[in-house]
């Protein structure tokens, strides 16, 4: 009993000592700092809770998150729809391959100036950029997922004379969902990068605008809080998404486990 408690305490300790030590080192090294660039961590955290818990959230964080959510939603809808189409029509996909590869390997951030020329600086521009940048991994992964559905399963759906819609919604999409989720996960991190990048280039609201303003007013402590906030957002979105994926794919892991135990002859 005592031993197992000790072991658990030890295993928690080993996971947390480094982060705690790093933050403590930062705290101590920056305490009483007079440097313009490195304000004391205590000041940064005090300012952080003043700003982001939660008085500045509606003004500066909410617009960014709204653009992110809207753009990403568009990317998922367009990406999955087109992905299914390209997955079903092999020839079409093969013909579009070169175009897709060029689009996918373009550093999306460079589209910001062009988007500003078309839409001006604002929400439309941000949403279009986020959607266009994050649609590619979703589209290509959905296509792969649909293509890799066991041909036998496709034959079965045909012999049961399922309609196209039933086949897509009841068979192909569920079967491709592990790949679709992997694609959307990549899409989320691209979308966040695009949100941050496009706002830092030019913006009229949002967290990027907040940062640009701190740059002009040389409010360094505020800038540190924004960088920490963006780091936390990145972490929360990524781990949150991994968690959702884990829950949604429970059936998939269960299926794989049964399959492999069947293969081993139980």
């Amino acid at each position: 009993m005592y031993r197992s408690v000790m072991r658990r305490a030890g295993s928690i300790l080993i996971e947390v000592w480094l982060p705690v030590a790093l933050i403590a080192a930062w705290w101590i090294a920056s305490a009483g700092s007079e440097s313009f660039y490195f304000p004391p961590l205590a000041d940064i955290l005090a300012r952080f809770s003043e700003l982001w818990l939660f008085s500045a959230v509606p003004e500066f964080l909410a617009p960014s998150l709204a653009n992110l959510a809207f753009g990403f939603l568009v990317a998922v809808l367009v990406g999955v729809t087109l992905g299914v189409v390209f997955g079903l029509f092999e020839r079409l996909y093969s013909a579009c391959w070169l175009l897709f590869e060029i689009a996918r390997s373009t550093p999306m951030i460079i589209l910001v100036p062009m988007a500003i020329m078309f839409f001006g600086v604002g929400s439309t521009e941000k949403v279009v950029l986020i959607a266009f940048a994050s649609v590619w991994p979703i589209l290509l992964n959905t296509t792969d997922g649909v293509r890799e559905v066991d041909p036998l399963i496709r034959d079965i759906t045909r012999s049961f004379s399922m309609g196209r819609a039933t086949q897509i919604f009841r068979v192909l999409l569920p079967a491709a969902s592990p790949q679709i989720l992997a694609g959307t996960r990549l899409g989320v991190s691209i979308a966040i990068m695009m949100m941050v990048g496009s706002e830092l280039f030019a913006s009229v609201n949002g967290i990027g605008y907040f940062v640009l303003r701190t740059q002009e007013t040389a409010a360094v402590t505020d800038m540190w809080t924004a960088v920490i906030l963006l780091g936390l957002l990145g972490y929360i979105f990524n781990t949150g998404y991994a968690l959702i994926e884990h829950v949604l794919l429970k059936w998939h892991r269960g299926l794989r486990a049964t399959e492999s135990s069947h293969a081993r002859g139980r």
Binding site: E15, C96, S105, T106, I110, P113, L230, G231, G234, N238
Partner: protein, 262 residues
């Protein structure tokens, strides 16, 4: 026979692909000529003309050089840091569990978010670029090397032991070759993400290079150059991706993903 194969492959695979790209360009041309929503979208000819005249200008080659040197230096630093660290974290459970949270947190920080701080500290010089790009390249390299180091066949260690290998020899002859495949994948990912980060930093922070040239063209309202630079950078990204994918396949030909699909 082989020639025949190559020929049918060209007509059935490559021709439709080129046709689709041509169709996309034709659509662009059509839109620019009809001038639907009074956008002053230039024609394909104008943009590629501008691109060619850019490429005739030596200063553009200087910008390309700046981008590639910032990218290359960052990749070099990332390799030097990530590979030993990856081997350490892959071989030592204690080290791995100690570092897990820090690595998980830091790799999800959007690199571009640090630009304002870097600009404040270093202005628009090379160190700003390094502060953003080195971490971007670091994580895929570190994680892939870590997986590789963890995946070393246990039997190989026994073999090494029975041959009386020193620790150093075990490292050089067993761990490094086993990691190589994983690290190669990490290197490709790091290189592609690094190029994006390099150009992104140039665009936003104004460090010299192609991204900054694009931002300057936009700032002075030289629309045609904005298009030309966008096309140029897109083609650079595409070529780099293709070359790296090809290189990885050549370097590690036995991997399943490298084998041609039947």
């Amino acid at each position: 026979m082989r020639l025949q194969d190559a020929r049918t492959r060209a007509t059935t695979t490559h021709l439709p692909r080129i046709a689709v790209v041509a169709a996309a360009l034709a659509t662009w041309e059509l839109v620019s000529r009809t001038d639907v929503n009074s956008n002053t979208l230039p024609t394909v000819g104008e943009v590629f003309g501008q691109l060619i005249s850019l490429l005739g200008d030596p200063s553009v080659w200087g910008e390309i050089g700046d981008t590639f040197s910032g990218w290359g230096i960052s990749l070099g630093i990332a390799i030097v840091l990530a590979v030993p660290l990856g081997v350490l974290l892959g071989r030592s459970v204690t080290a791995y569990r100690s570092a897990r949270f820090v690595v998980d947190f830091l790799r999800t920080v959007p690199g571009l978010a640090v630009i304002p701080l870097a600009v404040l500290l270093f202005g628009t010089s090379l160190p700003t670029e390094l502060v953003i790009v080195v971490p971007t390249c670091l994580w895929p390299l570190l994680l892939q090397t870590l997986y590789g180091a963890r995946d070393v066949d246990v039997v190989l260690f026994d073999v090494g032991k029975s041959y009386g290998f020193s620790r150093r020899k075990v490292f050089n002859r067993i761990i490094i070759p086993s990691c190589a495949g994983y690290t190669a994948t990490g290197l490709r990912l790091a290189a592609i993400m690094g190029l994006i980060a390099t150009i992104g930093t140039e665009l936003i922070a104004g460090t010299p290079g192609l991204g900054f040239a694009l931002a300057s063209a936009q700032a002075v309202g030289d629309d045609l150059s904005v298009y030309a630079y966008t096309v140029l950078i897109s083609l650079v990204g595409f070529s780099v991706t293709m070359i790296l994918t090809r290189l990885e396949r050549e370097a590690i030909p036995w991997r399943a993903s490298s084998r041609p699909r039947s």
